[in-house]
Symmetry: C2
Subunit: 325 residues, 2 copies
Protein backbone atom coordinates (compact mmCIF):
# COMPACT_ATOMS: atom_id res chain seq x y z
CA UNK A 1 0.00 0.00 0.00
CA UNK A 2 2.67 2.47 1.03
CA UNK A 3 4.61 2.04 -2.21
CA UNK A 4 1.53 2.85 -4.29
CA UNK A 5 1.95 6.62 -4.27
CA UNK A 6 5.07 7.20 -6.31
CA UNK A 7 4.45 10.93 -6.05
CA UNK A 8 5.45 11.63 -2.44
CA UNK A 9 3.41 14.82 -2.66
CA UNK A 10 0.30 12.67 -2.28
CA UNK A 11 1.44 10.50 0.59
CA UNK A 12 -0.45 12.61 3.12
CA UNK A 13 -3.53 10.75 1.88
CA UNK A 14 -2.12 7.66 3.61
CA UNK A 15 -1.96 9.36 7.00
CA UNK A 16 -2.97 6.29 9.03
CA UNK A 17 -0.38 4.05 7.37
CA UNK A 18 2.33 6.73 7.64
CA UNK A 19 1.56 7.04 11.35
CA UNK A 20 2.23 3.34 11.89
CA UNK A 21 5.51 3.52 9.96
CA UNK A 22 6.60 6.60 11.94
CA UNK A 23 6.03 4.70 15.20
CA UNK A 24 8.28 1.89 13.98
CA UNK A 25 11.06 4.25 12.84
CA UNK A 26 10.85 6.16 16.12
CA UNK A 27 11.13 2.95 18.18
CA UNK A 28 14.07 1.65 16.12
CA UNK A 29 16.02 4.89 16.60
CA UNK A 30 15.20 4.80 20.31
CA UNK A 31 16.43 1.23 20.55
CA UNK A 32 19.69 2.16 18.81
CA UNK A 33 20.25 5.07 21.20
CA UNK A 34 19.60 2.84 24.22
CA UNK A 35 22.54 0.71 23.06
CA UNK A 36 24.74 3.81 22.86
CA UNK A 37 23.69 5.03 26.30
CA UNK A 38 24.10 1.65 27.95
CA UNK A 39 27.58 1.28 26.49
CA UNK A 40 28.71 4.84 27.29
CA UNK A 41 29.11 6.16 23.75
CA UNK A 42 29.33 9.92 23.15
CA UNK A 43 27.24 11.51 20.38
CA UNK A 44 29.20 13.71 17.97
CA UNK A 45 27.71 16.40 15.72
CA UNK A 46 29.29 15.87 12.27
CA UNK A 47 29.01 18.09 9.17
CA UNK A 48 26.79 17.15 6.22
CA UNK A 49 28.38 19.59 3.79
CA UNK A 50 31.89 18.29 3.25
CA UNK A 51 34.72 17.76 0.82
CA UNK A 52 35.74 14.22 -0.19
CA UNK A 53 36.09 13.05 3.42
CA UNK A 54 32.29 12.80 3.64
CA UNK A 55 32.17 10.27 0.81
CA UNK A 56 31.67 6.50 0.78
CA UNK A 57 33.40 4.13 -1.67
CA UNK A 58 31.46 5.33 -4.69
CA UNK A 59 32.16 8.98 -5.48
CA UNK A 60 29.86 8.84 -8.53
CA UNK A 61 26.80 9.17 -6.30
CA UNK A 62 27.73 12.45 -4.61
CA UNK A 63 25.37 15.44 -4.78
CA UNK A 64 27.34 18.60 -5.48
CA UNK A 65 26.63 21.97 -3.88
CA UNK A 66 28.03 25.34 -4.91
CA UNK A 67 29.51 26.39 -1.56
CA UNK A 68 30.35 30.08 -1.96
CA UNK A 69 32.27 29.35 -5.15
CA UNK A 70 33.87 26.17 -3.81
CA UNK A 71 32.64 22.67 -4.56
CA UNK A 72 31.06 20.87 -1.61
CA UNK A 73 29.36 17.49 -1.43
CA UNK A 74 26.38 16.31 0.59
CA UNK A 75 27.94 13.84 2.97
CA UNK A 76 27.35 10.10 2.78
CA UNK A 77 29.10 9.21 6.02
CA UNK A 78 30.43 10.87 9.18
CA UNK A 79 32.96 8.06 9.69
CA UNK A 80 36.22 9.99 9.33
CA UNK A 81 34.90 12.84 11.50
CA UNK A 82 33.91 10.32 14.20
CA UNK A 83 37.32 8.64 13.95
CA UNK A 84 39.07 11.91 14.74
CA UNK A 85 37.63 11.82 18.28
CA UNK A 86 38.49 8.20 19.07
CA UNK A 87 41.87 8.97 20.74
CA UNK A 88 40.08 10.79 23.59
CA UNK A 89 36.44 9.68 23.58
CA UNK A 90 37.02 5.99 22.67
CA UNK A 91 33.36 5.34 21.76
CA UNK A 92 31.42 7.72 19.51
CA UNK A 93 28.25 7.72 17.41
CA UNK A 94 26.09 9.84 15.16
CA UNK A 95 22.78 9.47 13.34
CA UNK A 96 22.15 11.71 10.38
CA UNK A 97 21.07 11.86 6.77
CA UNK A 98 23.26 10.06 4.21
CA UNK A 99 22.82 11.35 0.64
CA UNK A 100 23.19 9.34 -2.60
CA UNK A 101 22.68 10.88 -6.03
CA UNK A 102 21.14 7.65 -7.30
CA UNK A 103 18.89 8.28 -10.33
CA UNK A 104 16.97 4.99 -10.06
CA UNK A 105 13.53 5.47 -8.50
CA UNK A 106 12.68 1.91 -7.56
CA UNK A 107 12.08 -0.52 -4.70
CA UNK A 108 15.78 -0.55 -3.70
CA UNK A 109 17.05 3.04 -3.86
CA UNK A 110 16.67 6.24 -1.84
CA UNK A 111 18.56 9.50 -2.32
CA UNK A 112 18.49 10.26 1.41
CA UNK A 113 18.21 8.01 4.46
CA UNK A 114 19.23 8.07 8.15
CA UNK A 115 22.57 6.34 8.74
CA UNK A 116 23.36 5.13 12.26
CA UNK A 117 27.15 5.21 12.69
CA UNK A 118 29.52 4.20 15.45
CA UNK A 119 33.29 4.00 15.92
CA UNK A 120 35.02 2.58 18.98
CA UNK A 121 38.39 1.39 20.22
CA UNK A 122 37.67 -2.31 19.72
CA UNK A 123 38.71 -5.17 17.43
CA UNK A 124 36.83 -7.03 14.71
CA UNK A 125 35.12 -9.58 16.94
CA UNK A 126 34.05 -6.92 19.42
CA UNK A 127 32.61 -5.00 16.47
CA UNK A 128 30.42 -7.90 15.31
CA UNK A 129 29.29 -8.52 18.89
CA UNK A 130 28.41 -4.81 19.23
CA UNK A 131 26.40 -4.79 15.99
CA UNK A 132 24.41 -7.81 17.19
CA UNK A 133 23.66 -6.09 20.48
CA UNK A 134 22.65 -2.89 18.70
CA UNK A 135 20.30 -4.67 16.27
CA UNK A 136 18.82 -6.71 19.14
CA UNK A 137 18.29 -3.48 21.12
CA UNK A 138 16.32 -2.08 18.16
CA UNK A 139 14.22 -5.26 17.88
CA UNK A 140 13.61 -5.30 21.65
CA UNK A 141 12.28 -1.74 21.52
CA UNK A 142 9.77 -2.79 18.83
CA UNK A 143 8.68 -5.87 20.80
CA UNK A 144 8.13 -3.86 23.99
CA UNK A 145 6.24 -0.97 22.36
CA UNK A 146 2.54 -1.70 22.79
CA UNK A 147 1.61 1.15 20.45
CA UNK A 148 3.09 -0.69 17.47
CA UNK A 149 0.47 -2.79 15.73
CA UNK A 150 1.67 -3.46 12.16
CA UNK A 151 4.69 -5.59 13.04
CA UNK A 152 4.56 -9.41 13.16
CA UNK A 153 6.05 -9.60 16.65
CA UNK A 154 5.89 -13.41 16.72
CA UNK A 155 8.24 -13.60 13.73
CA UNK A 156 10.56 -11.00 15.27
CA UNK A 157 10.69 -12.68 18.67
CA UNK A 158 12.43 -15.64 16.98
CA UNK A 159 15.43 -13.52 15.98
CA UNK A 160 18.35 -14.21 18.30
CA UNK A 161 22.02 -13.33 18.60
CA UNK A 162 24.66 -14.48 17.80
CA UNK A 163 23.96 -14.11 14.10
CA UNK A 164 25.36 -16.68 11.64
CA UNK A 165 28.78 -15.63 10.28
CA UNK A 166 30.22 -16.80 6.94
CA UNK A 167 33.20 -15.44 5.04
CA UNK A 168 32.96 -13.85 1.61
CA UNK A 169 34.90 -16.86 0.24
CA UNK A 170 32.34 -19.25 1.73
CA UNK A 171 29.55 -17.11 0.28
CA UNK A 172 31.11 -17.34 -3.20
CA UNK A 173 31.34 -21.12 -2.73
CA UNK A 174 27.59 -21.21 -2.11
CA UNK A 175 26.91 -19.13 -5.21
CA UNK A 176 28.58 -21.30 -7.88
CA UNK A 177 25.28 -21.92 -9.65
CA UNK A 178 25.01 -18.15 -10.19
CA UNK A 179 28.37 -18.24 -12.01
CA UNK A 180 30.00 -16.16 -9.25
CA UNK A 181 33.76 -16.21 -8.79
CA UNK A 182 36.08 -14.78 -6.15
CA UNK A 183 36.35 -11.02 -6.57
CA UNK A 184 32.78 -10.50 -7.84
CA UNK A 185 30.53 -8.16 -5.87
CA UNK A 186 27.47 -9.69 -4.20
CA UNK A 187 24.20 -8.42 -5.63
CA UNK A 188 20.80 -8.27 -3.99
CA UNK A 189 19.76 -11.58 -5.63
CA UNK A 190 22.79 -13.35 -4.11
CA UNK A 191 22.18 -11.88 -0.67
CA UNK A 192 18.55 -13.05 -0.79
CA UNK A 193 19.64 -16.56 -1.77
CA UNK A 194 22.20 -16.75 1.05
CA UNK A 195 19.84 -15.42 3.73
CA UNK A 196 17.22 -17.99 2.73
CA UNK A 197 19.80 -20.78 2.63
CA UNK A 198 20.93 -19.94 6.17
CA UNK A 199 17.50 -19.98 7.77
CA UNK A 200 16.01 -16.51 7.10
CA UNK A 201 17.96 -14.93 9.95
CA UNK A 202 20.37 -11.97 9.96
CA UNK A 203 23.62 -13.11 8.29
CA UNK A 204 27.14 -11.67 8.58
CA UNK A 205 29.35 -12.00 5.50
CA UNK A 206 32.94 -11.21 6.47
CA UNK A 207 36.40 -10.66 5.01
CA UNK A 208 35.72 -9.16 1.59
CA UNK A 209 38.36 -8.69 -1.14
CA UNK A 210 40.47 -5.61 -0.41
CA UNK A 211 39.88 -4.16 -3.90
CA UNK A 212 36.17 -3.86 -3.30
CA UNK A 213 36.08 -1.91 -0.07
CA UNK A 214 36.64 1.52 1.53
CA UNK A 215 40.28 2.56 1.67
CA UNK A 216 40.72 2.47 5.43
CA UNK A 217 39.25 -0.98 6.11
CA UNK A 218 42.00 -2.95 7.83
CA UNK A 219 43.99 -5.47 5.79
CA UNK A 220 43.78 -8.97 7.26
CA UNK A 221 46.90 -10.04 9.18
CA UNK A 222 47.24 -13.45 7.50
CA UNK A 223 45.76 -12.85 4.06
CA UNK A 224 46.70 -9.59 2.30
CA UNK A 225 43.92 -10.00 -0.29
CA UNK A 226 41.09 -9.47 2.19
CA UNK A 227 40.03 -6.89 4.79
CA UNK A 228 38.55 -7.34 8.27
CA UNK A 229 35.14 -6.17 7.11
CA UNK A 230 31.59 -7.42 7.48
CA UNK A 231 28.25 -6.80 5.84
CA UNK A 232 25.11 -7.70 7.77
CA UNK A 233 22.39 -9.04 5.48
CA UNK A 234 18.81 -8.93 6.77
CA UNK A 235 15.80 -10.83 5.42
CA UNK A 236 13.75 -8.43 3.22
CA UNK A 237 16.16 -5.53 3.79
CA UNK A 238 19.33 -6.95 2.24
CA UNK A 239 22.66 -5.32 3.14
CA UNK A 240 21.79 -3.22 6.18
CA UNK A 241 25.18 -2.75 7.84
CA UNK A 242 28.67 -2.16 6.50
CA UNK A 243 31.36 -2.65 9.14
CA UNK A 244 35.13 -2.94 9.48
CA UNK A 245 38.21 -2.66 11.59
CA UNK A 246 40.09 0.47 10.48
CA UNK A 247 43.66 1.15 9.42
CA UNK A 248 44.90 3.86 11.76
CA UNK A 249 48.60 4.38 11.00
CA UNK A 250 49.35 7.33 8.76
CA UNK A 251 51.66 5.47 6.34
CA UNK A 252 49.26 2.54 5.90
CA UNK A 253 46.24 4.79 5.35
CA UNK A 254 48.13 6.99 2.87
CA UNK A 255 49.31 3.96 0.89
CA UNK A 256 45.83 2.41 0.78
CA UNK A 257 44.14 5.70 -0.12
CA UNK A 258 46.41 6.30 -3.10
CA UNK A 259 45.80 2.78 -4.42
CA UNK A 260 42.01 2.88 -3.89
CA UNK A 261 39.27 2.94 -6.50
CA UNK A 262 37.81 5.91 -4.62
CA UNK A 263 40.98 7.90 -5.14
CA UNK A 264 40.97 7.18 -8.89
CA UNK A 265 37.39 8.53 -8.99
CA UNK A 266 38.44 11.57 -6.99
CA UNK A 267 41.22 12.37 -9.48
CA UNK A 268 38.72 12.11 -12.33
CA UNK A 269 36.48 14.58 -10.48
CA UNK A 270 39.39 17.03 -10.40
CA UNK A 271 40.21 16.39 -6.73
CA UNK A 272 43.34 15.04 -5.12
CA UNK A 273 45.21 14.21 -1.94
CA UNK A 274 44.56 17.74 -0.61
CA UNK A 275 40.89 16.74 -0.20
CA UNK A 276 41.99 14.37 2.56
CA UNK A 277 44.47 16.78 4.07
CA UNK A 278 42.87 17.31 7.48
CA UNK A 279 42.31 13.58 8.01
CA UNK A 280 45.83 12.60 6.94
CA UNK A 281 47.39 15.40 9.00
CA UNK A 282 45.33 14.31 11.99
CA UNK A 283 46.69 10.76 11.69
CA UNK A 284 50.26 12.01 11.18
CA UNK A 285 50.31 14.59 13.97
CA UNK A 286 47.94 13.21 16.60
CA UNK A 287 47.95 9.49 15.84
CA UNK A 288 45.04 7.18 16.52
CA UNK A 289 44.48 3.90 18.38
CA UNK A 290 43.16 0.58 16.99
CA UNK A 291 39.45 0.94 16.32
CA UNK A 292 36.49 -0.32 14.34
CA UNK A 293 33.08 0.90 13.31
CA UNK A 294 30.01 0.56 11.15
CA UNK A 295 27.11 2.29 9.42
CA UNK A 296 23.56 0.98 9.67
CA UNK A 297 21.00 2.02 7.05
CA UNK A 298 17.82 2.60 9.04
CA UNK A 299 15.45 1.85 6.16
CA UNK A 300 16.94 -1.60 5.55
CA UNK A 301 16.32 -2.47 9.19
CA UNK A 302 12.79 -1.07 8.97
CA UNK A 303 12.12 -3.22 5.87
CA UNK A 304 13.19 -6.27 7.86
CA UNK A 305 11.02 -5.29 10.83
CA UNK A 306 7.96 -4.55 8.67
CA UNK A 307 8.60 -7.46 6.30
CA UNK A 308 8.34 -5.29 3.18
CA UNK A 309 10.19 -5.77 -0.11
CA UNK A 310 9.91 -2.13 -1.21
CA UNK A 311 12.12 0.46 0.50
CA UNK A 312 9.50 3.15 -0.27
CA UNK A 313 7.23 1.45 2.25
CA UNK A 314 9.86 1.76 5.01
CA UNK A 315 9.57 5.46 5.83
CA UNK A 316 7.09 8.34 5.98
CA UNK A 317 8.51 10.44 3.14
CA UNK A 318 10.84 8.30 0.97
CA UNK A 319 13.13 10.45 -1.15
CA UNK A 320 14.17 9.26 -4.59
CA UNK A 321 14.75 11.00 -7.93
CA UNK A 322 10.98 11.28 -8.51
CA UNK A 323 9.61 12.15 -5.07
CA UNK A 324 11.07 15.56 -4.21
CA UNK A 325 8.45 17.49 -2.24
CA UNK B 1 40.77 29.03 22.32
CA UNK B 2 38.31 27.06 20.19
CA UNK B 3 37.60 30.00 17.93
CA UNK B 4 41.30 30.50 17.21
CA UNK B 5 41.54 28.03 14.34
CA UNK B 6 39.48 29.63 11.62
CA UNK B 7 40.54 26.86 9.28
CA UNK B 8 38.46 23.91 10.52
CA UNK B 9 40.94 21.63 8.78
CA UNK B 10 43.32 22.29 11.68
CA UNK B 11 40.90 21.85 14.56
CA UNK B 12 42.08 18.27 15.18
CA UNK B 13 45.08 19.93 16.88
CA UNK B 14 42.66 20.95 19.66
CA UNK B 15 41.60 17.37 20.36
CA UNK B 16 41.31 17.78 24.13
CA UNK B 17 39.15 20.90 23.87
CA UNK B 18 36.98 19.37 21.13
CA UNK B 19 36.44 16.35 23.36
CA UNK B 20 35.04 18.53 26.14
CA UNK B 21 32.72 20.33 23.71
CA UNK B 22 31.53 17.02 22.25
CA UNK B 23 30.58 15.82 25.75
CA UNK B 24 28.48 18.95 26.29
CA UNK B 25 26.71 18.66 22.92
CA UNK B 26 26.04 14.97 23.54
CA UNK B 27 24.55 15.65 26.98
CA UNK B 28 22.36 18.50 25.68
CA UNK B 29 20.92 16.30 22.91
CA UNK B 30 20.34 13.52 25.43
CA UNK B 31 18.53 15.94 27.74
CA UNK B 32 16.30 17.10 24.90
CA UNK B 33 15.40 13.53 23.99
CA UNK B 34 14.58 12.72 27.61
CA UNK B 35 11.94 15.45 27.46
CA UNK B 36 10.48 13.90 24.29
CA UNK B 37 10.42 10.39 25.79
CA UNK B 38 8.93 11.50 29.07
CA UNK B 39 6.17 13.39 27.27
CA UNK B 40 5.43 10.61 24.76
CA UNK B 41 6.53 12.37 21.59
CA UNK B 42 7.14 10.33 18.41
CA UNK B 43 10.29 10.96 16.35
CA UNK B 44 9.69 11.55 12.64
CA UNK B 45 12.30 11.15 9.90
CA UNK B 46 11.98 14.26 7.69
CA UNK B 47 13.69 15.00 4.34
CA UNK B 48 16.64 17.41 4.08
CA UNK B 49 16.43 17.80 0.30
CA UNK B 50 13.17 19.63 -0.29
CA UNK B 51 11.33 22.21 -2.35
CA UNK B 52 10.19 25.47 -0.73
CA UNK B 53 8.39 23.66 2.12
CA UNK B 54 11.77 23.06 3.77
CA UNK B 55 12.47 26.79 3.99
CA UNK B 56 12.33 29.25 6.89
CA UNK B 57 11.25 32.89 6.56
CA UNK B 58 14.28 33.97 4.60
CA UNK B 59 14.51 32.22 1.24
CA UNK B 60 17.67 34.16 0.37
CA UNK B 61 19.75 31.82 2.52
CA UNK B 62 18.82 28.56 0.79
CA UNK B 63 21.54 26.31 -0.64
CA UNK B 64 20.51 25.02 -4.05
CA UNK B 65 21.14 21.50 -5.31
CA UNK B 66 20.76 20.22 -8.87
CA UNK B 67 18.37 17.34 -8.19
CA UNK B 68 18.34 15.32 -11.41
CA UNK B 69 17.58 18.42 -13.44
CA UNK B 70 15.13 19.82 -10.91
CA UNK B 71 15.96 22.51 -8.35
CA UNK B 72 16.07 21.31 -4.75
CA UNK B 73 17.01 23.17 -1.58
CA UNK B 74 18.87 22.00 1.52
CA UNK B 75 16.18 22.17 4.17
CA UNK B 76 16.19 24.70 6.99
CA UNK B 77 13.28 23.22 8.94
CA UNK B 78 11.22 20.02 9.10
CA UNK B 79 8.26 21.94 10.54
CA UNK B 80 5.68 21.45 7.78
CA UNK B 81 6.58 17.76 7.46
CA UNK B 82 6.15 17.32 11.21
CA UNK B 83 2.82 19.17 11.10
CA UNK B 84 1.44 16.70 8.56
CA UNK B 85 1.52 13.95 11.20
CA UNK B 86 -0.15 15.93 14.01
CA UNK B 87 -3.71 14.75 13.24
CA UNK B 88 -2.79 11.17 14.24
CA UNK B 89 0.40 11.33 16.31
CA UNK B 90 -0.41 14.54 18.27
CA UNK B 91 3.19 15.05 19.51
CA UNK B 92 6.15 14.79 17.12
CA UNK B 93 9.81 15.79 17.01
CA UNK B 94 12.94 15.65 14.90
CA UNK B 95 16.56 16.70 15.27
CA UNK B 96 18.55 17.26 12.13
CA UNK B 97 20.85 19.62 10.27
CA UNK B 98 19.45 23.03 9.29
CA UNK B 99 21.31 24.68 6.41
CA UNK B 100 21.81 28.44 5.86
CA UNK B 101 23.74 29.83 2.89
CA UNK B 102 25.09 32.64 5.03
CA UNK B 103 28.31 34.07 3.57
CA UNK B 104 29.46 35.76 6.81
CA UNK B 105 32.15 33.75 8.60
CA UNK B 106 32.04 35.31 12.05
CA UNK B 107 31.19 34.76 15.70
CA UNK B 108 27.41 34.64 15.01
CA UNK B 109 26.87 32.57 11.86
CA UNK B 110 27.04 28.92 10.87
CA UNK B 111 25.99 27.40 7.53
CA UNK B 112 24.87 24.16 9.20
CA UNK B 113 23.69 23.40 12.73
CA UNK B 114 21.45 20.85 14.49
CA UNK B 115 17.90 22.11 14.92
CA UNK B 116 15.72 20.48 17.59
CA UNK B 117 12.09 20.74 16.44
CA UNK B 118 8.76 19.79 17.97
CA UNK B 119 5.10 20.17 17.05
CA UNK B 120 2.19 19.18 19.28
CA UNK B 121 -1.55 19.62 19.68
CA UNK B 122 -1.32 22.33 22.33
CA UNK B 123 -1.90 26.07 22.70
CA UNK B 124 0.50 28.98 23.13
CA UNK B 125 0.88 28.78 26.90
CA UNK B 126 1.41 25.03 26.80
CA UNK B 127 4.08 25.67 24.16
CA UNK B 128 6.03 28.09 26.37
CA UNK B 129 5.73 25.70 29.32
CA UNK B 130 7.00 22.88 27.13
CA UNK B 131 10.01 24.88 25.94
CA UNK B 132 10.92 25.70 29.53
CA UNK B 133 10.74 22.02 30.49
CA UNK B 134 12.81 21.04 27.46
CA UNK B 135 15.55 23.59 28.15
CA UNK B 136 15.57 22.64 31.84
CA UNK B 137 15.87 18.96 30.86
CA UNK B 138 18.95 19.87 28.78
CA UNK B 139 20.48 21.83 31.67
CA UNK B 140 19.71 19.02 34.15
CA UNK B 141 21.56 16.53 31.95
CA UNK B 142 24.63 18.78 32.03
CA UNK B 143 24.46 19.23 35.81
CA UNK B 144 24.16 15.48 36.41
CA UNK B 145 26.94 14.44 34.01
CA UNK B 146 30.08 14.00 36.10
CA UNK B 147 32.22 13.64 32.98
CA UNK B 148 31.61 17.29 32.05
CA UNK B 149 34.32 19.54 33.46
CA UNK B 150 34.36 22.76 31.42
CA UNK B 151 30.93 24.03 32.45
CA UNK B 152 30.39 26.45 35.33
CA UNK B 153 27.76 24.30 37.00
CA UNK B 154 27.27 26.75 39.86
CA UNK B 155 26.12 29.44 37.41
CA UNK B 156 23.85 26.96 35.59
CA UNK B 157 22.26 25.64 38.78
CA UNK B 158 20.79 29.12 39.33
CA UNK B 159 18.70 28.92 36.14
CA UNK B 160 15.08 28.17 36.97
CA UNK B 161 11.74 27.94 35.20
CA UNK B 162 9.40 29.73 34.65
CA UNK B 163 11.42 32.08 32.45
CA UNK B 164 10.59 35.79 32.37
CA UNK B 165 8.10 36.64 29.60
CA UNK B 166 7.76 40.08 27.97
CA UNK B 167 5.91 41.04 24.81
CA UNK B 168 7.57 42.44 21.73
CA UNK B 169 5.82 45.75 22.42
CA UNK B 170 7.25 45.84 25.95
CA UNK B 171 10.68 45.03 24.51
CA UNK B 172 10.43 47.95 22.09
CA UNK B 173 9.44 50.16 25.04
CA UNK B 174 12.67 49.16 26.78
CA UNK B 175 14.72 49.92 23.68
CA UNK B 176 13.79 53.57 23.11
CA UNK B 177 17.36 54.72 23.69
CA UNK B 178 18.39 52.55 20.72
CA UNK B 179 15.93 54.46 18.54
CA UNK B 180 13.80 51.36 18.07
CA UNK B 181 10.17 51.69 17.04
CA UNK B 182 7.32 49.20 16.74
CA UNK B 183 7.83 47.03 13.64
CA UNK B 184 11.64 47.02 13.79
CA UNK B 185 13.39 43.67 14.02
CA UNK B 186 15.36 42.98 17.21
CA UNK B 187 19.08 42.62 16.60
CA UNK B 188 21.68 40.81 18.66
CA UNK B 189 22.68 44.01 20.47
CA UNK B 190 19.06 44.59 21.58
CA UNK B 191 18.64 41.01 22.75
CA UNK B 192 21.83 41.29 24.80
CA UNK B 193 20.62 44.51 26.40
CA UNK B 194 17.23 43.02 27.30
CA UNK B 195 18.67 39.81 28.73
CA UNK B 196 21.02 41.81 30.93
CA UNK B 197 18.23 44.15 31.99
CA UNK B 198 16.07 41.21 33.09
CA UNK B 199 18.67 39.51 35.26
CA UNK B 200 20.84 37.45 32.88
CA UNK B 201 18.29 34.66 32.74
CA UNK B 202 16.54 33.08 29.73
CA UNK B 203 13.95 35.56 28.43
CA UNK B 204 10.85 34.96 26.30
CA UNK B 205 9.84 37.77 23.94
CA UNK B 206 6.32 37.13 22.68
CA UNK B 207 3.72 38.40 20.19
CA UNK B 208 5.80 39.76 17.32
CA UNK B 209 4.41 41.85 14.44
CA UNK B 210 2.70 39.59 11.89
CA UNK B 211 4.70 41.06 8.98
CA UNK B 212 7.94 39.85 10.46
CA UNK B 213 7.23 36.19 10.96
CA UNK B 214 6.69 32.83 9.19
CA UNK B 215 3.45 32.64 7.23
CA UNK B 216 1.70 30.03 9.35
CA UNK B 217 2.27 31.59 12.78
CA UNK B 218 -1.17 32.11 14.27
CA UNK B 219 -2.69 35.58 14.20
CA UNK B 220 -3.59 36.82 17.68
CA UNK B 221 -7.32 36.64 18.49
CA UNK B 222 -7.59 40.19 19.87
CA UNK B 223 -4.90 42.05 17.92
CA UNK B 224 -4.61 41.30 14.18
CA UNK B 225 -1.21 43.02 13.95
CA UNK B 226 0.61 40.39 16.01
CA UNK B 227 1.07 36.63 16.04
CA UNK B 228 1.14 34.15 18.93
CA UNK B 229 4.87 33.66 18.61
CA UNK B 230 7.81 33.64 20.99
CA UNK B 231 11.57 33.88 20.76
CA UNK B 232 13.62 32.58 23.66
CA UNK B 233 16.73 34.69 24.24
CA UNK B 234 19.58 33.10 26.18
CA UNK B 235 22.52 34.87 27.85
CA UNK B 236 25.58 34.53 25.52
CA UNK B 237 23.63 32.55 22.90
CA UNK B 238 21.04 35.15 21.91
CA UNK B 239 17.91 33.95 20.07
CA UNK B 240 17.98 30.21 20.65
CA UNK B 241 14.34 29.23 20.08
CA UNK B 242 11.70 30.37 17.62
CA UNK B 243 8.21 29.22 18.58
CA UNK B 244 4.57 29.78 17.66
CA UNK B 245 1.03 28.56 17.60
CA UNK B 246 0.17 27.58 14.01
CA UNK B 247 -2.61 28.48 11.62
CA UNK B 248 -4.16 25.16 10.61
CA UNK B 249 -7.21 25.96 8.47
CA UNK B 250 -6.65 25.74 4.73
CA UNK B 251 -8.19 29.13 3.83
CA UNK B 252 -6.31 31.02 6.56
CA UNK B 253 -2.98 29.44 5.66
CA UNK B 254 -3.49 30.06 1.93
CA UNK B 255 -4.35 33.72 2.56
CA UNK B 256 -1.35 34.26 4.86
CA UNK B 257 1.06 32.45 2.52
CA UNK B 258 0.10 34.59 -0.47
CA UNK B 259 0.57 37.79 1.54
CA UNK B 260 3.88 36.73 3.11
CA UNK B 261 7.34 38.14 2.49
CA UNK B 262 8.51 34.57 1.96
CA UNK B 263 6.09 34.13 -0.91
CA UNK B 264 7.33 37.31 -2.58
CA UNK B 265 10.87 35.93 -2.35
CA UNK B 266 9.69 32.60 -3.77
CA UNK B 267 8.15 34.33 -6.80
CA UNK B 268 11.43 36.16 -7.40
CA UNK B 269 13.22 32.81 -7.30
CA UNK B 270 10.92 31.59 -10.07
CA UNK B 271 8.74 29.50 -7.76
CA UNK B 272 5.07 29.73 -6.92
CA UNK B 273 2.10 28.29 -5.10
CA UNK B 274 2.77 24.84 -6.64
CA UNK B 275 5.86 24.61 -4.40
CA UNK B 276 3.46 24.38 -1.43
CA UNK B 277 1.02 22.06 -3.19
CA UNK B 278 1.40 18.98 -0.99
CA UNK B 279 1.11 21.01 2.23
CA UNK B 280 -1.91 23.00 1.08
CA UNK B 281 -3.63 19.87 -0.31
CA UNK B 282 -2.96 18.10 2.97
CA UNK B 283 -4.68 20.92 4.89
CA UNK B 284 -7.58 21.02 2.43
CA UNK B 285 -8.20 17.28 2.18
CA UNK B 286 -7.15 15.90 5.58
CA UNK B 287 -7.51 18.93 7.83
CA UNK B 288 -5.43 19.51 10.93
CA UNK B 289 -6.10 20.26 14.61
CA UNK B 290 -4.93 23.27 16.67
CA UNK B 291 -1.22 22.91 17.33
CA UNK B 292 2.01 24.73 18.13
CA UNK B 293 5.72 24.10 17.84
CA UNK B 294 9.25 25.40 17.89
CA UNK B 295 12.80 25.03 16.66
CA UNK B 296 15.79 25.16 19.01
CA UNK B 297 19.23 25.93 17.60
CA UNK B 298 21.56 23.61 19.49
CA UNK B 299 24.63 25.82 19.17
CA UNK B 300 22.92 28.80 20.80
CA UNK B 301 22.06 26.63 23.80
CA UNK B 302 25.62 25.29 23.89
CA UNK B 303 26.98 28.87 23.87
CA UNK B 304 24.80 29.63 26.89
CA UNK B 305 25.92 26.46 28.69
CA UNK B 306 29.61 27.04 27.95
CA UNK B 307 29.39 30.80 28.46
CA UNK B 308 31.09 31.59 25.14
CA UNK B 309 30.47 34.58 22.90
CA UNK B 310 31.69 32.94 19.70
CA UNK B 311 29.47 30.32 18.04
CA UNK B 312 32.58 28.67 16.56
CA UNK B 313 33.52 27.61 20.09
CA UNK B 314 30.18 25.82 20.54
CA UNK B 315 30.75 22.71 18.44
CA UNK B 316 33.44 20.28 17.31
CA UNK B 317 33.48 21.18 13.61
CA UNK B 318 31.74 24.55 13.07
CA UNK B 319 30.73 25.02 9.45
CA UNK B 320 30.79 28.48 7.91
CA UNK B 321 31.72 29.84 4.50
CA UNK B 322 35.44 29.47 5.28
CA UNK B 323 35.63 26.17 7.15
CA UNK B 324 34.53 23.51 4.66
CA UNK B 325 36.58 20.36 5.31
Amino acid sequence: MLNKFKETGERYKLLKELTEVAKVESALLKGARKFFEKNKYTEVVVPHLTRATGSCENMNTLFEVDYFGKRAFLSQTGQLYLESLIPELKKVWCIGPSFRAEPKADSRHLTEFPLIELEFNGNFNELLDGIEKLIMSMIKEILHDNGIKIVDKKRLSKINAPFKRITYSEAIGELKEFGMKWGDDLKNIHEKYLVKKFGNQPLFITHFPIEMKFFNMKRNESNPNIVNSADLILPMGGEAVGAAEREFKYEDVMKRLKKSQMFRQLLKLGGGIEDFKWYLNFLKEMGNVPHAGCGIGLNRVTQFILGVDDIRASTVYPLNSETLM
